[in-house]
């Protein structure tokens, strides 16, 4: 009966032809990385990885953690996931994704793994007298810093949110209430803080060390203060999504980022490596020294802050933004 409908020889030929075509097409596999790592460094990662795995083509979507988050959430909503590996400075969101059951378990290591550490520090405009500069985060509450301090917005920047979660946990919400009374300016991302301080519009800023060091290298008139109450380490996380189409390749890329070669590339972008055999970035103080007084992050704390994220943002908005 079927032979009346199908010409089997043709069907077999067609099947072989399509398989050959798809085999040809899939010779080079793709892997999509969505990352907040600066373009010049992620390009180096891409080149290094493709050299090691010539059959894998790395496709990059580079943007801020917040944009990546919005884009991935839209992909999740549309049920068409393109992102394979997420490398962002949004530790809470990464753990949140895991909690929602959207993260793929990994062969080697935890499902949500640390790529590197960024450091939140204080910067000053070079024109400020040395004796006036703050030494700790709590110094910024003093009246002589009123209207002089710029910070990014936790509603816009993942690292700013981590900082707010950390500081509110450590010093209580009075800290931000007083900062709000001191007219802390809070908008945009880290680069906005650099711009405001280097132009002299603000005298001091709370910002990521990597942004500050990159700006100083370009001739920006700013300097770095490692607060004596502990600079705030903020981990960047890597996550492979459960519904990612290229999990195997994503796993290889994730491992490459954690290899010594990958970490040396990230070091050039002034990020602290997670490996003990990779030194601190050029011009940066040793990680252990400047974070000695910081409270260490644990997955439990991330999950706690993720659960309270709405409340944290709301309280911050009340104290500082409104």
């Amino acid at each position: 009966m079927l032979s009346h409908v199908f010409d089997f020889n043709r069907a077999i030929f067609l099947t072989i032809f399509i398989s050959a075509l798809s085999g040809f097409a899939s010779q080079k596999k793709e892997v999509w990385i969505y990352t907040s790592v600066y373009k010049e460094f992620i390009s180096e990662i891409e080149v290094g990885f493709e050299k090691r795995y010539p059959n894998i083509d790395v496709k990059v979507f580079q943007s801020g953690s917040e944009k990546i988050q919005a884009k991935v959430e839209a992909e999740i909503l549309s049920k068409k996931i393109q992102a394979d590996l997420l490398v962002t400075s949004g530790p809470f969101w990464s753990y949140g994704l895991e909690k929602r059951g959207l993260v793929s378990p990994r062969k080697n290591g935890p499902a949500v793994n640390t790529n590197y550490y960024s450091l939140m520090v204080i910067i000053y405009n070079n024109k400020t007298p040395e004796t006036e500069r703050p030494k700790t985060f709590t110094d910024l509450l003093k009246p002589n810093y009123k209207r002089f301090v710029q910070f990014s917005s936790p509603l816009e920047s993942g690292t700013a949110f981590a900082t707010v979660a950390y500081l509110s946990d450590r010093y209580g919400w009075e800290f931000f209430e007083k900062l709000g009374d001191n007219h802390l300016a809070s908008s945009g991302g880290n680069s906005a803080v650099i711009q405001k301080v280097e132009s002299g519009e603000k005298k001091y800023g709370i910002v990521l060390l990597e942004n500050a060091l990159a700006a100083i290298k370009k001739g920006s008139p700013i300097g770095v203060i490692y607060p004596t109450d502990g600079s705030i380490p903020i981990p960047s996380m890597q996550v492979i999504l459960k519904d990612s189409p290229n999990k195997e390749q994503a796993e290889l890329l994730a491992e490459y980022i954690l290899s010594k070669e990958g970490q040396m590339i990230l070091r050039k972008g002034y990020m602290y490596s997670v490996r003990s055999d990779v030194p601190a970035p050029e011009g940066a103080a040793p990680f252990k020294d400047v974070t000695a007084k910081a409270i260490p992050w644990t997955p439990e704390r991330f999950i706690k802050f993720e659960a309270n994220s709405k409340d944290i943002k709301k309280k911050y908005s009340e104290h500082v933004l409104e």
Partner: protein
């Protein structure tokens, strides 16, 4: 009839489908919570004041200059006209950044020598800059209308002994009223959905416009963020309704204001008195200095020196001046070339598609005023929707879920550009059509021509200048489009706006400013090229 109805439904699905897909994600409990919050009411206030105030300022600036540019002739008029249109030709984010460099309250390069009129940061600054950037739109709409007014009206008024001021208030203003109201409503829609100006100018003083709130909630909220920002977009959409209603009212009253009735019209020619000329010239120069010359000059200078140097050391910085920023964006950064060529190609394509869609829809529904009105609503909704929301709606709708997958191609950006700028093209073309009396098409049809033929031989040739003008009118904002491009850029597609945003966000201000200057030069060059190619008929 059935075909027309199906086409109308298709337009609806294309234009408002993606937004409504997002509206379905609104969580009612969260939405109510948002509406009741103090910060929402404050944002609503800021949005309304700056949106309406900005539109009113645009109307005042636009009407004042359109009056003089339409009525009088003088040397250098074309260059001065182009000068007035520059704030519209430059992307908002560039102008806003330039204002901050020039006039931020603490370290603005011009703050102490030539202070900004009022506080730059906050609602007033936003209102003023909205007024500046959209005044050229009002100017373009009104200039055309004034030129079409029959000089007989003015002559009759003057013969009867009326002063020029009285003629303006009694003749010109009433005749222009529908066009003024229509341009105010267009400016209001653009103001409430603008992003760059609220972000640069409003946010530092905690004056958050609703679009900025949408952006904020979208940034860090995950699923809840999309729901909340969709809720806020719904409010923006509701805010745009009165301006749409206004346009409907204007349409209903169109017959009272017909400026061309198929008869020949000649141009009004008046001569300036010397006193009037100098008064006009000094107000023009003052406005242009504040509107764009000073801020852009400062931004331009800042591209040659180290970051922050100009603010701290003034002109001494130029001892170490270099072209490093330009070298970086033009030679070292491969994205710039890709972005410029792709923005030009896909921008042009979007412009052409917009015009084709406008003409086809107007022709198809020329007998159906109610359908035209519905279409206008379809086109107006995306313009009042923040770019970020529109982009996310498109990602959700065109990722294959509904059978079409445009994600990560340049086509999704083309769709976004069409959606966002359709209204901008539709209104002037439809208004142009309003000025063509129905008797012209009827005469052709009585003589045996089909509707298509009547449109081809009568309507389109009359509308040709409008069509060409509209093409450029939409191409320029597309070239500098920022918010949607940021979301829709992919390795396969980069726009100038997305590269500019990346530079501003992740590189340094000098490189971003250098790219801004390159973009301004590119736009002015394109304008000049258009004029040259069309022997002065097109472009500004």
């Amino acid at each position: 009839m059935k075909l027309k109805f199906s086409l109308l439904v298709l337009f609806g699905a294309l234009f408002i489908g993606p937004i409504f897909v997002l509206f379905t994600k609104i969580d009612p409990v969260l939405f109510q919570e948002t509406l009741e919050s103090k910060s929402f009411l404050k944002s609503l206030n800021v949005t309304l004041i700056s949106g309406l105030g900005g539109a009113a300022l645009s109307a005042i600036f636009g009407l004042f200059f359109a009056h003089f540019f339409s009525m009088y002739q003088w040397k250098l008029k074309r260059i001065q006209r182009l000068g007035f249109l520059i704030p519209y030709l430059i992307p908002n984010c560039i102008l806003a950044a330039a204002y901050v460099v020039a006039w931020n309250p603490v370290s603005g390069i011009l703050t102490s020598s030539l202070p900004f009129p009022g506080e730059l940061y906050g609602t007033w600054g936003m209102t003023f800059i909205f007024g500046v950037v959209h005044a050229p739109l009002v100017f373009l709409i009104l200039e055309d209308k004034i030129q079409k007014i029959d000089p007989v009206f003015f002559e009759a008024s003057q013969v009867s002994g009326a002063s020029s001021l009285r003629t303006f208030f009694k003749i010109e203003l009433p005749l222009l009223l529908p066009a003024i109201l229509s341009s105010i409503s267009l400016c209001f829609s653009l103001n409430i959905s603008a992003f760059a100006i609220p972000a640069w100018i409003g946010a530092p003083e905690k004056a958050y416009a609703l679009t900025y709130k949408v952006y904020q909630t979208l940034q860090l909220g995950g699923e809840e963020g999309i729901s909340q920002s969709a809720g806020l977009s719904l409010i923006l959409f509701l805010l745009a309704i009165p301006s749409l209603a206004l346009n409907v009212w204007i349409q209903k009253n169109e017959k009272k204001y017909l400026l061309i009735t198929g008869k020949a019209s000649r141009k009004m020619e008046s001569s300036f008195s010397q006193k009037k000329f100098y008064l006009f010239q000094s107000s023009y120069i003052l406005c242009m200095l504040v509107f764009w010359i000073l801020p852009l000059a400062v931004l331009f200078l800042s591209t040659f020196v180290k970051p922050g140097c100009l603010q701290q050391n003034g002109l001494d910085c130029f001892q170490e001046a270099s072209l490093k920023s330009y070298e970086y964006i033009l030679v070292e950064l491969p994205d710039t070339k890709q972005a410029i060529s792709q923005s030009l190609i896909y921008g042009t394509l979007s412009g052409i598609l917009i015009i084709v869609l406008c003409l086809v829809s107007l022709m198809l529904f020329s007998n159906k005023k109610s359908f035209q009105q519905i279409l206008e609503w379809f086109f107006a909704i995306p313009i009042a929707t923040p770019g970020a929301i529109l982009a996310l709606g498109l990602i959700v709708s065109y990722s294959g879920q509904f059978g079409i997958n445009l994600y990560n191609t340049a086509w999704i950006a083309v769709v976004a550009y069409i959606l966002k700028h359709m209204n901008m093209a539709f209104l002037p073309i439809r208004n142009g059509l309003m000025n063509i009396h129905a008797s012209l098409v009827e005469a052709a049809q009585i003589s045996g021509a089909s509707k298509r033929r009547a449109w081809k031989d009568i309507v389109v040739p009359i509308l040709k200048p409008d069509i060409m003008g509209v093409f450029f009118l939409v191409l320029i904002p597309i070239l500098g489009e920022l918010t949607m491009s940021v979301f829709l850029a992919s390795p396969n597609f980069k726009s100038i706006g997305s590269v500019l945003f990346e530079l501003q966000d992740y590189a340094d201000q000098a490189s971003a400013s250098a790219l801004s200057i390159v973009l301004v030069i590119l736009i002015l060059f394109m304008n000049q090229l258009t004029r040259w190619l069309s022997r002065g008929r097109l472009g500004y």
